[in-house]
Symmetry: C2
Subunit: 162 residues, 2 copies
DNA sequence: CTATATTTTTGGTATAATACCAAATTTTGA
DNA sequence: TCAAAATTTGGTATTATACCAAAAATATAG
């Protein structure tokens, strides 16, 4: 619990693997403790797979995990997850500016997001004027429409200030 | 040699792994047959690692490989490599539009490029008006400055029509 | 033209990320 | 309190990538 700890120095945005980022973004949409099964159903994977990844996220300080009970974001984990969400939204918006549909933008963003640095996201976000629309809806506000912790709408939807 | 063959149907842009894309882009900068050692030195990896990846690229039809002699892009491989280069350049240009330096743009592009679809690149490229500048110089025209088959210049440089 | 040096390949092993399965453990609910 | 459900453990698999050592092929120096 030192290597990847979200409180160790500056975050680059590149500390977590794709699946871990997906888990954090999903957890952001849930207020209370989340059970292993909820996550495994969300991502359609075996519960044992979830147990292993959350153990790593907990070890690195992103989650509090009470065995057999569930997980919850730590403060640092929540902050990191919020960055991940914003990054997803900024990238989705970027693609939509080039003419991709919201769903396409969201898909492209999902594939690349874990490899885009915090610095790049910061510049994109300022350059866009800290936009308030996104390819996805505000987390926790609407039901999921399946694109990997990404919530599609037929039209872009208002989200909080990025 | 069916699964990933560049001639099988439409290319999505997502068929190759990051390292393989890097190899193809590098090969694009070389006209004649390239030795295993040249590639292994370029990427600072063991020659045996190169042998294995080029075997897979050859099996999938991107390269012609004469054992103990070297590799050369097939026509399909060259076409694919050209797409990869263009994608890199389009993405690099996108980042530079948001205020990242050429080197930063190139780095970010290198990390994400293999996960960006051909469709997205197409839309970005048209939307940008098929630009002729890039974060990188024209392949084969100047010596490499090390960013993973990406050639930096202090200033953006003219490249062929994207 | 041969002995040695160099390059390349083979075969084995390693790691990270991700996944499944079966068995063991814990919790829940009747 | 006991069976059902959820969770975890332990083992194995895959893909991408890498290293090493040994074998094979090629090149080169005399």
């Amino acid at each position: 619990m030192t290597e990847n700890n979200p409180e160790n120095g500056e975050i680059t945005g590149l500390e977590l693997s794709p699946r871990k980022v997906s888990y954090l973004k999903f957890l952001l949409t849930k207020d209370d403790t989340v059970r292993t099964t909820e996550i495994s159903e969300e991502f359609d994977v075996d519960p044992s797979t979830v147990t292993k990844l959350i153990a790593e996220l907990a070890e690195d300080g992103y989650l509090d995990h009470v065995p057999y009970r569930g997980v919850k974001l730590t403060d640092a984990g929540r902050e990191y997850a919020e960055f991940c969400l914003k990054r997803h939204q900024v990238l989705g918006l970027m693609f939509s500016h080039y003419g991709l549909s919201p769903a396409e933008s969201c898909d492209e963003a999902s594939r690349i997001e874990t490899f885009v640095s915090k610095k790049a996201v910061g510049k994109m976000c300022s350059s866009m004027g800290h936009p308030t629309i996104s390819c996805c809806v505000k987390p926790g506000e609407t039901r999921q429409i399946n694109h990997d912790s990404c919530f599609h709408e037929s039209r872009p939807n208002i989200i909080r200030k990025l």
